[in-house]
Symmetry: C3
């Protein structure tokens, strides 16, 4: 099973949500993550003892970096890295930096890059596995892994779901990767709830269509709430969404409020990659359908599982 | 004794200098710190082995962060953290971030926040002890702990002291916390040596008055130097102090110089939380009454002691 | 041999390329580095176990910091540090910061400072070895150590070399330190290939002259390429070099291209401290004479060797 991740390489990179198969998710990754999640921290084995992860972050990240750092550490690895937005550092050639890092004995390179395609460029020259921790407006595949793991845990299935992806979908690596991942499953109804000017990229939408999903673009979350299993909110890039709403007569609804909650089925779940903006008021957190903190917690175990699989464990 | 720190919680937060009792300081914290200070580093036990401290710093800190990092490390704990002033990170809801961190197996959260009240907000949602490492213009209780420990070490007593708090006292979390802490002791004479416009907050002053201290506001350190046991200098927020002195006819004296040293009793001590400005010229460092580097060194042991107490050791 | 590094101190600082002797390089440092380089990472001994390195970086660094961090870690030491360009931190007195750090049990202080002379100022007050990781436009001695180690590895000798130092040589701590180091060797021909306004400092040039090197200042790398054993490129500080070239009629050639490569002897080597600019196009990387990535890799072993020597191992 693991071989589906290897895609012909001597080792495996994690670059793109499209590289995974349904079987690998359901039969390899999820059970491994679940097993880790059900193990007390002080009873975890250290399958990564002697391994070293290096993180190279060109954009600020706190959740993803800390999540991977803890995942690696709890499994026995050591973690080093650079976290910078320094313009001088950014101006250096990414490939050069990767080649220099390859001179050190690192076993994983975790890369967040500010431009789409960064992870692929790094993988093209790296002698160790590169993990894409976000590449500009491209993808964020490990976020998508924890998102689908969360749906699997919360709802018990990934087929036959009615999902709303909500907000500014035009420059969202999170929803790009999630949409690609959802394409692996069957009988999906996917509502794209975004302003006219901030719609999902055509190529991502076409991927979903080709994979058999039933896509519908709407502009009011409230109008479809009663039909949903999943609300996947994204943080409004406030400038652009504000602009759309204020100056372009955009009157859609891209937030959860009491009315949406009232309409939403009792078994539905609200996910959010965090950090949140006004689209998910904290007053609603007590509603058990708001799953975003359980989702964040799941990230640790999904990343632990992923690292053990990349390291060749079985 | 330890229970006075617990204040009814299942565990203990360190949020406010007012939470400590005199007995706890003198009978629990100080002896513990002294014992650690008198132990060779390579003979230290590792009572925090397997524990993890996470620091979350929204303002630059170097002394406090390094001091806690070393304190935790030398006792066997591991340290992870985020050190950022990034506006995007700051704009995220503090409570959300704490809840996400609670999903990881951290045993202590060390928080420096840029706004007053940050530590209390964090403690309200945290499932592990929060340590206030400075919250805007609020408090900095662990600085105050090392300050009083230093006085105890240097002078042998905390009662019957004549103390000058010097400089811009209006927005100083350091002097706020120290003043609250001094309120625990008896027969104190406290001079507040600050410009008219940069006086200590009324609420802090009232706390000292209610605790029985004899307060006097003056504007010339030189005039009272001969009467002092302790000069506690603070770094002038130069813009504000400069403004007061240049444009408002403020002619007070808020610095130590040769004249102040000449007047100061031989047994007196000069403390400074560092970093310093012109209020303490380096040329005077050889004077044994200048205790600020011993004070900084004490911080390591006070924080080690505090961590062992928070961890429930005895 | 090691004593030549000690220069009368109880311990050793690494401050200036001029502090080393030829014998120490060839008989102590290089063999130690080579031995480490030929040892598999997982078979390295841990001679620095229980030691602690603190890095204090006032300028962004990624290569040097990571290189030292890995060197220390692979030998068993632990690493802590501060990496900041924060103006408030920079405004603090360097000597104060070092004295505070001396209160913690660190065994090495690795300092990158934004102003020339920083490392010496730190060493003047430090109670543990200070390693200069770059002090403004001053020196970068450990870069020079890895540079000459690279020449020794690549060419088998350090005497009788024809070396071109290329680019803006006026504010280059890298070429300053390398020039001082080359002064230890015999029968050198050194071309200084720089625009009129960006020539090497007079004091560095005079050092080379006094050490017996044959110096020649030229302005076209192409014209001398056929006569070279070593091309040492530096990143053009683009603003200044651009200005010189565009507005001052400067028409020199300070870059490698196909023509330079064609003229360069087959046994020559091209070094570059990285990061690079247009002076070394990536298309040329496949040429085996381009040694800059091997040079970067060597840095790890030279720094490991240096740390073991500073720690007094033999």
């Amino acid at each position: 099973m693991t071989t589906t991740l290897q895609s012909g390489h001597r080792f495996q990179h994690v670059l793109d949500a499209r590289q995974f198969t349904r079987d690998w998710l359901e039969q390899v990754l999820f059970p491994r993550a679940l097993e880790l999640q059900q193990t007390a921290v002080d009873r975890l084995a250290h399958p990564l003892a002697g391994k070293r992860l290096f993180y190279l972050f060109y954009e600020p990240s706190t959740r993803t970096r800390v999540s991977f750092e803890m995942a690696a550490t709890l499994l026995g690895a050591t973690v080093h890295g650079i976290d910078t937005q320094d313009e001088q550092v950014r101006s250096e050639r990414l490939e050069d930096r990767i080649r220099i890092l390859n001179a050190y004995p690192f076993d994983f390179l975790l890369l967040r890059y500010h431009l789409e395609g960064g992870a692929s460029r790094a993988a093209a020259v790296s002698s160790v596995p590169v993990i894409n921790a976000g590449d500009g407006v491209g993808q964020h595949p490990t976020q998508a892994l924890l998102d689908v793991y969360t749906l699997w845990r919360e709802l018990g299935r990934l087929d036959r779901l009615r999902v709303a992806l909500v907000g500014d979908l035009s420059y969202q690596r999170t929803t790009n990767s999630l949409a690609y991942m959802l394409g692996l499953f069957s009988d999906l109804k996917i509502y794209l709830v975004a302003p006219q000017l901030l719609r999902m990229r055509e190529e991502v939408k076409q991927h979903l269509v080709r994979s058999g999903a039933d896509i519908e673009e709407v502009r009011d979350l409230g109008a479809i709430a009663a039909d949903l299993d999943v609300v996947y909110l994204t943080r409004a890039h406030s400038e652009r969404l504000d602009h759309a709403q204020r100056f372009e007569g955009e009157t859609g609804k891209y937030a959860v409020d009491e009315d949406v909650l009232a309409a939403l089925p009792a078994v539905a779940r609200i996910l959010h990659p965090l950090p949140r903006g006004p689209e998910l008021p904290p007053e609603l957190d007590l509603d058990p359908r708001v799953a975003c903190f359980r989702q964040a917690a799941n990230g640790l175990y999904v990343r632990m599982a992923l690292l053990t699989l990349l390291a060749g464990g079985d």
